[in-house]
């Protein structure tokens, strides 16, 4: 009787196991195996094409400890994360609340905000590099020549280059956040809103006491995702500055790429990417914990 019951349970779960099988196979083949190889490579000296990897223990990690470009990259990743969990979140929150509150032209605004997000990073980068920042054909060059204001591209200056690249990426990203927040805001129970309004709550009180508590789980999850993405960021930095000038915009991912494909130091590159992965894993763990907590609640 007991065996029969167990068998029934197994049979009832079979389709679900089968459904998850492709995902497990995919993860195993394109994530797990390369991840194990990367961990192993980080302890070796390897040029990326040789069949033999020379085991050198912790040498790559010791070198990274004394490598100023690695620390510069890590610092830039942290700066990037801080920028992304503040600027676009605040801007998107403001825009979504305004749209939700006034409900005038919200569909049009949503569509407009999403346009940069829908464009390929290459397209966005080319727009900013050639139409805005270019001293020859761009807006910056035009303003320089017109002599109206003294302006230079932020990408050319060591102290503003990272902000310049982040600005472009934030321009592309905040519209997406707005749409996510707006979707969450729409889930706010109308009865709470109406009773608060009847009690005479003003806009700020509505936001802090009604809207924000309702969308907080979404905001928290987005923040964790932003942290994960920030430590993996690559595209806009590579397209706009390739990590320059003088490594002022270098982040761990661009440094990994440069070590692997310019210097043929795949072992050291693996060590950098592993450290990047470890930080991402902490954020991913936190994300999973939040998701479960939310599901339970």
């Amino acid at each position: 009787m007991k065996t029969r019951k167990k068998k029934d349970v197994r049979e009832s779960k079979l389709p679900y196991h089968l459904l998850s099988l492709p995902a497990v196979l995919l993860s195993g083949s394109i994530v797990l195996i390369p991840a194990i190889q990367t961990i192993f490579s980080s302890f070796t000296k390897w040029n990326g094409i040789s069949k033999t990897k020379v085991w050198i223990g912790l040498q790559n990690y010791k070198e990274l400890f004394h490598d100023w470009i690695f620390w510069k990259s890590l610092t830039n990743n942290i700066k990037w994360t801080l920028l992304f969990i503040t600027v676009p979140v605040i801007v998107a929150m403001l825009a979504s609340v305004l749209i939700a509150y006034y409900r005038i032209g919200h569909k049009t605004f949503q569509a407009i905000y999403l346009v940069p997000y829908l464009l390929a990073p290459t397209t966005n980068a080319i727009i900013w590099l050639n139409i805005i920042f270019s001293p020859s054909a761009g807006l910056v060059g035009f303003l320089q020549r017109a002599g109206w204001i003294s302006i230079t591209s932020p990408l050319g200056n060591m102290s503003t280059a990272l902000l310049g690249v982040a600005m472009v990426d934030i321009w592309h990203y905040w519209g997406f956040l707005t749409v996510i927040f707006l979707a969450a805001l729409r889930q706010t129970p109308m009865d709470q809103l109406e009773s608060a309004q009847l009690d005479g709550a003003n806009g700020w009180r509505l936001f802090f006491h009604i809207y924000l508590p309702n969308i907080l789980p979404t905001v928290s999850l987005m923040m964790v995702l932003i942290v994960i993405y920030s430590f993996m960021t690559y595209d806009y930095i590579y397209l706009l500055t390739m990590g320059g000038p003088a490594h002022s915009t270098e982040v761990l991912s661009t440094y990994t790429y440069s070590l692997a494909f310019s210097a043929f130091k795949f072992g050291k590159a693996a060590a950098v990417s592993l450290s990047m992965g470890l930080i991402g894993s902490v954020a991913a763990f936190f994300y999973t914990w939040l998701s479960r907590k939310e599901a339970v609640e």
Binding site: I49, S153, G156, A246
Partner: protein, 467 residues
């Protein structure tokens, strides 16, 4: 019912995954953004017999008209010359990273593109490209190719690749601008510096230079300043292991390059915001006095408005602080090897041999000026009567340099002659320009990489420069 639906969905997912795993089509654009072609639209229809065996050749993602030129000339010639094989070109923006990955995975093309001998020496040491000595003997390549370029393609005395174009560094200038200002092309170091200051006083950039879109450009400008401030022997001695890269002389030259940058000689504050094409447009717009660059920049002149008045383009050797003789910075745009696992090595060698002919040089340069000055000795006597404008200008620039290069008046360009980790370290010369590192720290970092790569035998044989 739910169970059946779930099983059905599973089957559908499995089927769709299998469908996704089908190989990409051979023509058109694949998921990497690469484009492949066997013939240009205008080319004569070759016999496209499906039984033809394919020879593959990946190249970098040049501008579309240039891609068409290459397909027309190279594929056109080869595919029409016989009916058993078909040469298929694929243009990839990421060719420099695709090739090593594909070689390691055993899926590389038959003809292996490289952005300089430092790449092929690594491939050769791993046995991934063929020793071409037998073909060199069969086709007489050693007698036909300029020694300095031939030697750069060898490892332990064996030839592993053939050189692409030899380009020479110098100063581009706009003759119309010089006529307006009453300037003369500089013949001495002091004249050049005076011209830089005069240009800046007139509100234009002294030199057009920039690394937007391609950070490794730093090595063009950094190495040219160093090679003309101190003798080319400094690089030679470091590369041949007879002295360190980190010498007081080198430190002073690196400091000088930083001084030039800080004075604004290199496009002022717009170095990072200017790409190679924009640099040439600055020259066309008379917004910079000169452009310090290798002759491959002629391809960017062709993309600027200066292409409408090619007679206005001038090019002279960059003056040096230590001699009045012209010194040319020598580099290779690319080089080509044969995949060790190709089933058609003889056919690949036949294609490479065609690339070492005056006919190929002239036909490529006709529509792609600046990039195809293959370093063959016949280049000095090549018939250029059918060429005009920038195409003729390209060949003439290199022709003028060849006797000097033969006499040893050349300097080494890092991207061609430095091994991979060393050239990557050298490209960080902008850290000194921007005040992040001192010249001493920079030279020490380059020396560390170079010493390790010299010990690993990754430096190609070098001809000794005269200075």
């Amino acid at each position: 019912m739910k169970r059946i639906l779930a099983l059905l969905l599973t089957c559908l997912m499995a089927l769709s995954m299998l469908a996704c795993a089908q190989p990409a089509t051979q023509e058109g654009t694949d998921t990497t953004g690469a484009t492949s072609a066997t013939q240009a639209p205008a080319a004569e229809e070759p016999a496209t017999d499906s039984a033809r065996k394919q020879i593959t050749f990946w190249f970098w993602g040049a501008a579309t008209p240039y891609q068409e030129t290459m397909v027309n000339v190279l594929c056109g010639w080869y595919n029409n010359s016989q009916s058993d094989y078909e040469l298929v070109m694929e243009f990839r923006n990421t060719v420099d990273t695709d090739i090593p990955v594909a070689l390691a995975a055993g899926t590389a093309p038959d003809i292996v593109y490289a952005s300089g001998p430092s790449y092929t020496s690594t491939y050769a040491q791993e046995g991934l490209v063929l020793d071409l000595n037998a073909y060199a003997e069969q086709y007489g390549w050693k007698d036909r190719v300029l020694g300095v370029m031939y030697d750069a393609c060898t490892v332990d005395g064996k030839l592993y690749s053939i050189p692409g174009a030899m380009v020479v560094g110098g100063l581009y200038y706009n003759k119309a601008l010089f006529a307006e200002k009453g300037w003369q092309p500089p013949k001495t170091w002091d004249e050049m510096l005076a011209l830089f200051d005069a240009a800046q006083a007139d509100g234009i950039y002294a030199l057009g230079a920039g690394n937007k879109g391609w950070k490794p450009c730093n090595d063009h400008f950094g190495s040219m300043i160093i090679n003309h401030a101190i003798s080319p022997s400094a690089f030679y001695n470091a590369l041949s292991g007879t002295s360190s890269f980190n010498t007081p002389e080198m430190v002073s030259a690196v400091n000088l390059s930083a001084e030039w940058f800080q004075k604004g000689y290199l496009t002022g504050q717009d170095y990072v915001n200017t790409d190679s094409m924009e640099v040439m447009q600055l020259l066309a717009d008379k917004r910079c006095a000169m452009v310090m660059a290798p002759t491959l920049y002629t391809q960017f002149v062709a993309q600027s408005t200066l292409a409408d008045t090619p007679d206005d383009v001038g090019f002279v050797a960059m003056p040096s602080a230590y001699t009045d003789q012209p010194i040319y910075d020598v580099s290779m745009t690319s080089n080509y090897a044969i995949n060790a696992s190709t089933p058609y090595p003889d056919e690949c060698a036949k294609i490479l041999n065609y690339m070492l002919t005056p006919e190929f040089v002239v036909e490529m340069t006709r529509n792609w000026p600046g990039y195809w000055t293959i370093p063959i000795k016949e280049l000095a006597d090549v018939d250029t009567s059918s060429l005009t404008g920038l195409s003729l200008f390209t060949i003439e620039c290199v022709k003028e340099a060849i006797p000097y290069i033969d006499a040893g008046n050349f300097a080494f360009h890092p991207s061609t002659f430095f091994p991979p980790a060393t050239v990557t370290a050298f490209e960080d010369i902008d850290t000194v320009w921007q005040g992040v590192l001192t010249a001493e720290q920079f030279c020490a970092a380059v020396a560390t990489e170079l010493d390790a790569e010299v010990a690993a035998g990754l430096v190609c044989p070098l001809a000794k420069p005269a200075y």
